[in-house]
Amino acid sequence: MTEDPVKLYVIVMGILLLVLSYVAYDSWAQASAYEEAIARAPREADQMKQLASEVKGLVDQIAKSELRDGGERVLIERVEKTMNLSRSRYTSDTVNLGRGVKGHERRFTYEYGQGKASPPMRRGEVVRFCESVERASGGIVKTIELHLRRATGQDQQDPGKTEKVTDDQYKAEIVFGLRVVD
């Protein structure tokens, strides 16, 4: 260590000066940032109000849907129950949306019109069911696919007997679903 007190002082002060330079620069940068922040604060406050209102709209949309009490499947089946529909088959699956898309599709497939336990559906009944599900979910759950095939009236309990059915009755496969980000 140096014995020269002036040299020691210069070295120590030099180091302190370096540290202080950084502190001063940082303070200056912060003060400048404050001034910029003041200039943009009113604009940001307006943006915030607008964004808050958009978020509130989405929150309301979800709040109004019946999704809050369970998942999409619970909602669909609640509507199904209300309309006194009995399905013949239910499946659910998840489909990847492919390369370049960070999301997937949740699909719920309901089939109707196979036998007495699940009688064919009229076209209007299909439309009402789909509309009810979409409305109850606040537009969140959508009807992804509809597959209607006119029922030929083959009785499930008596496969050998062909039963005449009206023209407006269909075996229906309805796919509900929504796409979400991974």
């Binding site: 404050y34 808050a52 959508k142 006119r150």
Partner: protein
């Protein structure tokens, strides 16, 4: 406070002065002088080392300016055909070489001062000192652990002290005498500028040695007798030697005889000095006549010498007493300092910026190796000033920020916080729809960084919430959107409903609606009905293909019916 030490090393000893402060405001803090036995024209090295070691126990070693004796210097006035310092500096050494008869230009350090200008160039007063002389002085100092930062001539250091005292301003044309033991330095100042410097090998030793010879005693004893006489007569008593008034030698006592010898030798000294003085004044160009002579050195201790010189030279000869011009704390040493301290003082003043000619004889290979030594005091002051300047600046910035925070940001953040917190509460209120990792704490957002960025953080949090909600409702950005099959259904059946009156019946066999394609297979009464339907369905702009085929009897009516299949490609909407 900056400190500088002036160190005068001469044949008989060493003198040191310490000054503290800046160029304008300084104090003389210490003065010390130590005698050393001379050995062959230089001080005894061992004694000098001991004296310096003792002095520098108490003095700062950091900023020492040392002296060279004018008697070791060759001084010449030479003309050079240049006017700018850059040009002069390049040639001065080689121009001076012509005037140095007994040494090579490479063996000397040459410094110069401008004494006048002419249309052809500049007249310079050139000072040349042998490098071995300078080197020896540096070695003396180094032996005591001192590295002199600069070196100057004793006579010029004396000029610096007188100038700092304001006496040159008072008498711009004057002569400065440094009456030493073995030599006397004479500096001639004309209109405030040093015009000539002479070192005459004539000192007060010539009085004591003359007395010693006359009285057959040794020089030391003769010196004692001079001091005794000084004590009896007083420093200011002038006893003129008047031959007519002299008593016969036989009638005089021993003391009177001693005094007579002293007066005689002093008179001889004054006479010889006058001759040198007159010769030098005559050599000054422009015939300047000095208005005053200021004297310093051991000659001041010779009683009546200054008065005698004043009579002989025909100008007032006054002692230069630094303690009368500068603030100093030199109890008990004031007298010594006033008599001998002017040169050391001038050197110390050079260290704090009072530099009369700005000459430094530490040049070329004798230059101070460590530049830091030269700069460290200025550096210390600079870093201190910078430090406090930056500290004040940082403080100002911080104060400004706090003020802005208090006066400007707090109201903005406060007014933005409530709507933000309300929305967050509604968002968090969606319960298990919002995963725990997506829940938002409004307090944490507000306090999660600098205040001015709070509104921005609210915005960022709201944006994250919005993206999460879009994910929940299935229409997140970047995902291909689902078109509800009901939309297609409604569009197709609206057209079919309109055509229903024109066609007897339309019996849908299959209806397939996917996100990519819509396929309707139906039974119609005839081809014409199919064509009508095609026309109508063309209004649905995504019709891609129509297939018509004979199908045969209807299972319901038994009639021949047409089966028609429409295929629609779904377009991006």
């Amino acid at each position: 406070m900056a400190k500088a030490v002036g160190l005068e090393i001469h044949e008989r000893g060493v003198r040191a002065v310490e000054v503290t402060g800046s160029g304008k405001n300084f104090k003389i803090g210490r003065y010390t002088e130590r005698e050393v036995t001379p050995r062959g024209g230089v001080p005894d090295p061992e004694e000098l080392h001991a004296a310096l070691a003792e002095i520098f126990k108490h003095y700062s070693k950091n900023h020492v300016i040392a002296s060279l004796e004018a008697s070791d210097t060759v001084v010449r006035e030479i003309p050079v055909p240049f006017k700018t310092d850059d040009q002069i500096r390049k040639v001065v050494k080689y121009e001076a070489e012509h005037h140095l008869h007994d040494c090579d230009a490479d063996d000397v350090v040459v410094q110069y001062a401008k004494v006048g200008e002419s249309p052809e160039g500049t007249n310079l007063l050139v000072f040349a000192v042998r490098k071995d002389v300078i080197g020896r002085r540096i070695e003396f100092a180094r032996a005591a652990g001192v590295e002199p930062l600069a070196m100057d001539l004793d006579a010029l250091a004396y000029v610096g002290a007188v100038k700092a005292a304001g006496l040159i301003e008072e008498s711009p044309t004057c002569v400065l005498l440094d009456i030493g033991h073995r030599s006397t330095g004479m500096v001639f100042i004309v209109d405030g500028t040093v015009r000539a410097l002479r070192s005459v090998r004539l000192g007060v030793d010539s009085i004591t040695h003359g007395m010693a010879r006359e009285m057959d005693i040794d020089a030391g004893e003769a010196g004692e007798k001079v001091r005794e006489i000084a004590g009896e007569e007083g420093g200011d008593l002038f006893v003129p030697i008047e031959p007519g008034a002299a008593r016969p030698e036989t009638a005089k006592g021993h003391a009177e005889l001693e005094r007579d010898v002293f007066h005689q030798k002093r008179d001889e000294f004054a006479g010889r000095l006058k001759r040198e003085y007159v010769r030098s004044v005559a050599a000054l160009r422009g015939g300047a006549s000095p208005a005053r002579v200021l004297a310093t050195g051991p000659g001041l201790g010779v009683p009546g010498l200054l008065e005698l010189l004043a009579t002989r030279l025909g100008v007032p000869v006054e002692p230069f007493r630094p303690s009368e011009s500068f603030s100093c704390k030199l109890d008990g040493q004031k007298e010594q300092f006033d008599e001998n301290g002017a040169v050391a003082l001038g050197l110390a003043l050079k260290g704090i910026g009072h530099d009369a000619l700005e000459l430094d004889f530490r040049q070329e290979e004798l230059r101070v190796a460590n530049k830091f030594e030269l700069l460290k005091n200025s550096l210390a002051v600079t870093v201190t000033l910078l430090f406090f300047g930056l500290l004040a600046f940082s403080g100002h910035c911080v104060y400004k920020m706090r003020q802005l925070e208090r006066e400007r940001f707090e109201p903005i953040v406060d007014s933005a916080y409530k709507p933000f917190a309300d929305v967050v509460a509604a968002y968090n209120g969606l319960g298990n729809m919002i995963e725990a990792r997506h829940q938002v704490d409004p307090n944490a957002v507000e306090r999660g960084g600098p205040k001015p960025e709070a509104v921005r953080r609210f915005l960022q949090a709201l944006d994250r919430m919005k993206r999460n909600l879009h994910t929940i409702v299935g229409d997140a950005k970047g995902l291909p959107q689902i078109t509800s099959a009901l939309q297609v259904w409604n569009e197709v059946f609206a057209i079919v409903g309109k055509l229903h009156e024109q066609i007897d019946f339309i019996d849908f066999e299959t209806i397939e609606i996917t996100q990519k394609q819509v396929t309707l297979a139906m039974i119609l009464p005839d081809v014409e009905a199919g064509q009508r339907l095609e026309e109508g369905l063309k209004k649905v702009d995504f019709l891609s293909e129509m297939k018509l085929d004979e199908w045969g009897a209807s299972p319901l009516s038994g009639t021949n019916l047409q089966r028609i299949t429409f295929v629609f490609k779904r377009l991006e909407r």
